[in-house]
Symmetry: C2
Subunit: 416 residues, 2 copies
């Protein structure tokens, strides 16, 4: 299941610019470089590696890391073979980077005339729980003769009331979600994938995020969004196998045999939600608590004492966010959220360009985000303070099984 002997796993540091493999391993030992975690039980440590291979892609049910770099790409080639090669090259690079290694095999030290295989800024950093998660946008299926393989569930998102979309932050043929506990590790990963894809794909838009605003770690403290409220308390935890199977992972028979290649995958809806923080910050505490349906200090639902107390929805205002978003108000709709706060400087009016980059994974957007957002966009009291300004939807193929597998093989392999 592993791509190379792992008796002495080198860190990124060991693999750049030091010539032969013997030298590199010696340097790793001498430099006290960080060993790569070799089994899943280590994966929870902040600096450890998360396994890349599996039935599902990592970065969905994986406990949420602290930082995000998300990139949407457009395909620039009409050559199917070149696109398949890119996916193979990306897989190889992702396999190495998530293990804390440099891109490339490190044996290029002698080739001073060539560009380095790795850009180098993550040298000496830990794997930092890096996960890389690949997705296919609807527009990809207009290319390479893939039209009849577009999954039924990969629908274009409708327009919702209040949407104010910036086309430069919308759509994309591909996406890669990079999550890590160190932003430099996440940025390094996206940059190197973009570099590898030069000429074949180009970044369409990207988004950095910090301060995870939801937790898939059971029992962990719920982070606060930039409105100062705990949000995402009742998220699906990564160890809830039953709920993951019901609400997140695509089943064997979903969509019939045509969509069988998506089995074990998921669907991602990404929304850039701008918060009008200046307006929010001038609203009263009562208004803020009414809007969410929680108290601000503890995060407890209206009338309750503790964050995780079962909410009594009827005690909340009819347009309270928690009430409207709750599965009980939506026929049980449940999505897995991995939101990140963003602050992208200041807009032309001196206002903070800040908000929530909302990432929702689900088994079928037609039964997940779309009906939920129809209700929220029509009724949520929060709408006075937020705007959806970017949007995309992606089919997330199943995981890369082993060292011979590659991202998207079930969709693109001629033998599939």
């Amino acid at each position: 299941m592993t791509e190379e002997p792992q008796s002495a796993p080198p860190s990124r540091r060991a693999l750049l610019g030091w010539g032969g493999a013997g030298l590199a391993l010696g340097a790793a030992a001498a430099g006290g470089a960080v060993a790569v975690a070799q089994n899943q039980s280590d994966a929870a440590g902040a600096g450890a590696a998360v396994p890349f291979h599996g039935a599902h892609q990592a970065g969905i049910a994986t406990p949420v890391q602290d930082r995000l770099h998300f990139a949407a790409f457009d395909v620039k080639t009409e050559d199917r073979a070149a696109f398949v090669q890119l996916l193979k090259d990306w897989t190889a690079a992702a396999r190495r980077m998530t293990a804390g290694k440099t891109v490339g095999d490190g044996a290029y030290g002698g080739l001073a005339e060539a560009p380095p295989d790795d850009t180098g800024e993550a040298l000496g950093l830990q794997p930092s729980r890096l996960t890389l998660t690949l997705g296919f946008g609807p527009s990809l299926f207009d290319k390479f003769g893939l039209a009849d393989r577009r999954p039924a569930a990969l629908v274009d998102l409708p327009s919702f009331p209040g949407d104010d979309m910036d086309s430069s932050r919308t759509g994309g043929d591909l996406c890669v979600q990079a999550c890590a506990d160190d932003p430099q590790v996440a940025v390094h990963a996206i940059r190197n994938l973009a570099r590898i894809g030069f000429g074949t794909v180009a970044v369409r838009w990207s988004q950095l995020g910090f301060g995870k605003t939801s937790s898939t770690t059971p029992g962990a403290q719920t982070p606060r969004n930039l409105m100062g409220f705990k949000d995402g308390t009742r998220n699906i935890a990564g160890d809830e196998t039953g709920r993951l199977g019901e609400f997140v992972w695509v089943g064997d028979r979903d969509g019939g045999s045509k969509d069988a290649w998506m089995s074990g995958g998921s669907y991602l809806v990404a929304r850039r939600i701008r918060m009008n923080v200046e307006t929010w910050d001038r609203s009263s505490l009562q208004e803020q608590e009414d809007v969410f349906g929680r108290d601000k200090g503890e995060g407890a639902p209206v009338g309750k004492a503790k964050e995780r107390d079962e909410p009594f929805l009827k005690a909340m205002k009819p347009d309270a966010h928690v009430r409207l978003a709750h599965p009980d108000s939506n026929g049980g709709i449940t999505i897995l959220r991995r939101g990140y706060s963003f602050t992208d400087g200041t807009d032309g009016l001196g206002r903070l360009d800040a908000g929530l980059f909302f990432l929702a994974y689900q088994r079928d957007p037609r039964k997940g985000f779309i009906p939920l957002q129809r209700r929220l966009s029509a009724q949520d009291a929060l709408n006075e303070y937020i705007q959806h300004v970017g949007s995309a939807v992606f089919a997330i193929p199943p995981g890369v099984r082993d060292a011979h597998d590659w991202w998207g093989r079930p969709l693109l392999s001629e033998e599939a």
Copy 2:
């Protein structure tokens, strides 16, 4: 020296939305909230508080924290008293936030009709070594009758060859540098200062940074910039009192009696340096190493084995960055650098908008950044791969001495 009794220092968590002080303290104990560090020896811990009071402002010689939110403000009032009140309000808020507390005294829990004194997103987070450092830009001295108090050393920066300035990222009447180990803590601080200043000041531009590219901690591993190289190896360390006094802190007699109010202060030059990473990533390893004058793996100067080996400048190419920037090539010019990497998504051409937000502290820019940058802008081989796209200079007043003092008092107090 402290502003209030500190027998039971509450964390941010304890101080919002829970009514009376007794309740708040009880909740802090029950919630396992983080205690605020009470003495300087704790300040090195990643989550601890850095003392706010002192002869110099914190955030200059302080060991570099992991994250940055830097904001430049313009003054929107002509009322000197309103501006002085803002500085007093900012000081009070900064004193609390750097100690890990909420803005405001926390006793407003009963006032549900009022906006909260604190926006809340840092509740439950540690102080995270937050420092807040205030500066005055040249344009401030055109206001409030301050023209004759502008320090001689606060010159407007000249244009340098290759500058490609974006006016929306340049200048400012005021600046606040927020550094912390948690980005949410840094963002929270700038946002709350902007909120307090509503109507009096407005954010002109701001910049987030991550992945510090220099270290003022002696012996610490030098971080890598987004070109993958170690940079800033020979920075001034925070414990080098002699070099700080010689190169960073303004002396008692600098500028004569007119500028005496700046004694103990410093001058900050901020430059947003965009890196053309796509071009860089396609250049050869040899070219990259020649440009810097170091090897990429270890960071050793040309011909040497280790990063901290004394460089032999003549072994480097004449236009190598390390050679040109070295004090020996510049009559001893030495500046204290606190650079941060930035990645602000993607530009309209699909290129990463990434680079170095360069922050240099010095005793006198006329003897620091300006002559150094004249040389670098004319000769540095790195210029092929970078562009300076934002710029500002600020006088950094001395530290806030105690609980009765406030930022800028030596400049603005009528009794001064």
